[in-house]
């Protein structure tokens, strides 16, 4: 659409202004993370203090916390995405009784706030000895991810080409072969989006690992950061470096695969 040069100029000003509003706080944390740890170090006159990152890794034990986070995220992504693909396949391509009510029950889980289930989860998993274990932290997040994942995969399977499935069936392919050799390979973009979103939600989750591991055995990276903020009060450089380390894995993925993140979060939100 044609607009005047003046309006175009004004739009650039707005664009840059809001980019600054968003990037400002990120700039603050980065400048703190690269800043000197103390005034005496600051007098050395270097601009980038890279040593903050290995120091935070050691002193803040981020190495340990990140390992825990990777383990939990790997379990949640593999189990939740697999279960979601299988369930979405059934709900999206097969006709059977209770298919619709079942779909709504899964949809319900997308809306249930973690706060509602976390209290009984803690006490019941404590009874069966799952608190302070990786599985105690992973299982509740698997269930939450399955709610969205099943909805997401069902949407994908409903858009797949019926004729192609029918042709494969006439060639004698069983339902699992059709899923595994035809639909999953074609559906790689949809599955990748689900993997990325599940990874992000699990990596960033706070309440579940906080409650499920009261003794701190299974402390994920965001929890380690919150804990570090309370413990480590000498200066802010290491805290900021730790914050950057915790945010980095998801941000790097976002920079390279941002289309998947935006598409997933926007389309995933638009229910039918």
């Amino acid at each position: 659409m044609k607009v005047s040069g003046l309006e175009k100029g004004a739009n650039y000003v707005v664009l840059i202004l809001f980019a600054f509003i968003v990037l400002g706080p990120i700039g603050v944390i980065l400048s703190l993370a690269f800043g000197p740890q103390s005034a005496s170090v600051g007098r050395e006159g270097r601009i980038f203090h890279w040593e903050n990152f290995p120091d935070a890794w050691e002193i803040g034990r981020f190495g340990q916390y990140m390992t825990t986070s990777v383990t939990v995220a790997a379990i949640v992504v593999v189990v939740a995405v697999s279960a979601s693909i299988l369930a979405g396949y059934a709900l999206g391509t097969m006709k059977f009784r209770f298919a619709t009510p079942l779909f709504y029950i899964f949809l319900l889980g997308i809306m249930v706030p973690t706060e509602a289930i976390i209290v009984p989860l803690y006490f019941d998993l404590r009874t069966v000895g799952l608190t302070n274990t990786v599985w105690g932290v992973a299982f509740p997040q698997i269930a939450m991810s399955i709610a969205f994942g099943t909805y997401w995969m069902r949407t994908y399977f409903r858009t797949t080409n019926r004729a192609m499935i029918e042709a494969a069936r006439l060639d004698g392919a069983g339902s699992f072969r059709i899923l595994w050799q035809i639909l999953v390979p074609i559906g790689r973009p949809a599955i990748l989006t689900l993997v990325l979103l599940t990874f992000m939600w699990t990596w960033n989750e706070f309440l579940v690992p906080l409650v499920m591991s009261p003794n701190g055995d299974v402390r994920t990276a965001p929890l380690g950061l919150a804990f570090f903020q309370g413990q480590y009060t000498q200066g802010t450089a290491l805290l900021a470096a730790g914050a950057v380390l915790v945010a980095l894995p998801v941000v790097v993925l976002y920079v390279f695969l941002q289309r998947h993140f935006i598409k997933g979060m926007i389309e995933g939100a638009v229910r039918e």
Binding site: M1, E7, N11, L15, F18, A19, I21, V22, L23, P25, I26, V28, I29, A83, L86, A87, Y89, A90, M94, K95, F96, A99, I105, M111, V112, P113, T114, E115, A116, I117, I118, V119, P120, D124, P140, I142, A143, I146, L170, A173, G174, S175, N204, F206, L210, P214, P222, L225, A226, Q229, A240, V244, V246, A247, V250, V255, Q258, M265, I266, V270
Partner: protein, 304 residues
């Protein structure tokens, strides 16, 4: 899983009868999801409803108290306050970003300026950063000797400086603005996607009729993105109601009780005060409110 031959004959049989020949087949695919989802989502949800009718300290014997925990939601001063704070957060998470996002998306869609793709990536970024990291960052910004007060001193507004997270009046809005900062990207990107789908001819026609930018916005743009507004409001209101990490890391509900929210009360009551029944009642109430908001916002959004 299934034998290829029997499954293909099964399917042709199913087309005649209109049902699957192997009625268990979909359930076999659904089994892992149903088991995991049932055990760790539906079961605890039912348990939460059950707990909410008891008084229990998490260790000893529990006592049935009927609806007392729900009555407390209305009568308990601190819980009422927490829900009031949630309303304030809804303004900052949902209403404010929606107003700004609408204007922002409208002017950016109107003139296809360059660098829009890059801008979209940047403004969406806060959505993917862990809330704890966001909270740690803003705590530094709001610190008494932090960049915000530094900026105010620099521009000669010395009298406006204050400990932003230690002030009874300003802490809740200060925390709310962090929520606005996070929500803005999601809302704007959603609205931009909706506005880019509005047919260009509508605007051309409006131009010929002599409509200005404001008329265009209210007559064409706003009605066209009704669906996106609905989605944006649902997502951000629910996010506001579920605020936990942000409060936990920035203020822990303080100073005093000036920033407690329902989610934080669930955690505090269950795991710090030993009021498990009361905590689950807050959790169930929160769930019902989230369902109600989804329902109401979608009803309004679907009209017309």
């Amino acid at each position: 899983m299934a034998d290829p031959v029997t499954s293909s004959t099964g399917r042709s049989a199913s087309r005649r009868s209109g049902r699957l020949a192997k009625p268990w087949l979909p359930w076999a695919y659904l089994a892992p999801a149903i088991v995991l989802y049932g055990l760790f989502m539906l079961f605890p949800l039912g348990r939460a409803a059950q707990y909410s009718f008891f008084e229990w300290d998490g260790l000893g014997a529990s006592e049935f108290v009927g609806f007392d925990n729900y009555v407390a939601l209305v009568q308990d001063e601190q819980l009422r306050e927490a829900f009031g704070h949630a309303l304030v957060l809804i303004f900052f998470y949902a209403v404010l970003p929606l107003c700004v996002g609408l204007v922002l998306a409208a002017i950016l869609t109107r003139a296809q300026v360059r660098g829009l793709g890059f801008f979209r990536t940047v403004i969406f970024l806060p959505q993917v950063i862990a809330m704890v990291v966001v909270a740690v960052t803003w705590r530094q910004i709001y610190a008494p000797d932090g960049p915000l007060n530094g900026f105010l001193r620099m521009v000669g507004l010395e009298s406006w400086t204050r400990p932003w997270l230690g002030d009874y009046t300003f802490t809740l809005p200060a925390v709310g603005l962090i929520g606005s900062w996070v929500s803005l990207g999601l809302v704007t990107v959603l609205l931009m996607a909706g506005m880019s789908r509005v047919p260009r001819e509508l605007y051309e026609a409006a131009r010929i009729d002599g409509a200005g930018a404001f008329r265009e916005f209210f007559a064409i743009t706003l009605p066209s993105v009704r669906g996106e507004i609905t989605v944006a409001l649902t997502l951000t209101i629910v996010a506001a109601l579920k605020t936990f990490d942000l409060i936990y890391v920035t203020t822990s509900g303080g100073p005093g009780t000036s920033t407690t929210v329902p989610s934080y009360e669930v955690y505090r009551r269950a795991f710090q005060l030993g009021e498990v029944g009361a905590a689950t009642a807050v959790g169930i109430a929160l769930t019902l409110i989230v369902f109600a908001i989804n329902f109401v916002v979608n009803q309004i959004g679907d009209k017309k």
